[in-house]
Symmetry: C2
Subunit: 209 residues, 2 copies
């Protein structure tokens, strides 16, 4: 099936399916009905059937879903059955937090190392990964087939570093800097703007009071 | 105007307006036309006019928007013109990163302190804030009018701590633990699931290749 036919709303829900299926596998569950999955995920069974039908429907009448199989299929659709090399720019607390998550590696995102402009950090480690100087940034991307950079730096430096990374050939920027990054069409930007998430929270609180 | 009439899509865009207006103010810009704002934000001028008309429309024909005024109005709508007391549960790298962001405080989110179950961390500081023991968690919430808890802990402990926090009276949970948190209707949960954000990125990369 052509991936481009699937709506973004469905895609955005897939990682959550993936996470629940992973938890089921860890608990030794081999199969699950759409009803039970819907109770667990707090969505309707009809929503689940509709979502998964987009991919040819992995359920079988009277059996439900085979958990490891569905888990594998969703991994393929999300492209996490393959290894994506990633580096982290910025070895502050947020960069270190990302470097330390073993979950990412399990999902095919291989942290190769961190880069920082602070000479005192260069040569040390974070989460078991080396911290390299910014001077080596572009060469490292080219030589190590880096696909993704995580930007955990102040907003002032973000665009310049994104430009270098794009020039060196990265495919995607996972942007934590609180600013909009401009990139060519062939490059993907996924933003995690923490302040904006907190403001949405604040709005909902103020509306409920 | 009744806030409940505004669509969630518009609300989700407001923090981005707020951020751009803040940057304009820092650059000393007093007023801006919807055209110039649209170029800067890379959206259409018509979208901007439509969005801001939801709040009575702060623009004036032939003048454009008064930047500080619009900034203030959006702050009011988002509820960030008021102080929200927040504590962070988990003093690992992610908790420390959040504790260290001066931006949050500027937007009305006052970090009161961190809580951690590790006795070695209790009594130390992160980002200038004290780290307290989990034993004091519920009392602290009650005595300090804590509205928001940021959960930066492993998923296994997340629900239990959320339950305690809700019992003690928090209004909102900013959840970084990779799991779904169940709360009563009157409590808000805003999720930041980093793995899921990374999987969306991976999907977009795999689709483009």
């Amino acid at each position: 099936m052509d991936k481009s036919d699937i709506s973004l709303a469905v895609i955005k829900r897939l990682p959550r399916y993936y996470r629940h299926l992973e938890e089921l596998m860890e608990s030794g569950v081999e199969r699950i009905s759409s009803h039970d999955l819907s109770v667990r995920m707090n969505v309707t069974a009809s929503q689940i059937r509709q979502d998964l039908n987009n991919f040819g429907g992995f359920g079988q009448q009277g059996y439900g879903y085979n958990v490891p199989n569905l888990h594998e299929q969703i991994a393929k659709i999300l492209g996490i059955d393959q290894i994506h090399n990633m580096i982290i720019v910025g070895a502050g607390n947020l960069g270190r937090a990302i470097a330390g998550y073993s979950n990412f590696e399990k999902r095919g995102f291989k942290v190769m190392g961190l880069f920082d402009s602070n000479p005192a950090l260069v040569g040390t480690q974070a989460g078991g990964h080396n911290i390299y100087p910014m001077d080596d940034f572009e060469d490292y991307i080219k030589e190590n087939n880096v696909e993704i950079i995580a930007l955990t730096i102040p907003r002032e430096a973000a665009q310049e570093i994104a430009d270098c990374a794009v020039k060196a050939g990265v495919k995607a920027i996972w942007n934590f800097a609180p600013t909009d990054i401009m990139v060519p069409d062939k490059v993907v930007v996924e933003n995690v703007h923490l302040s904006e998430s907190l403001m949405t929270l604040s709005y909902t609180i103020s509306k409920m009071n």
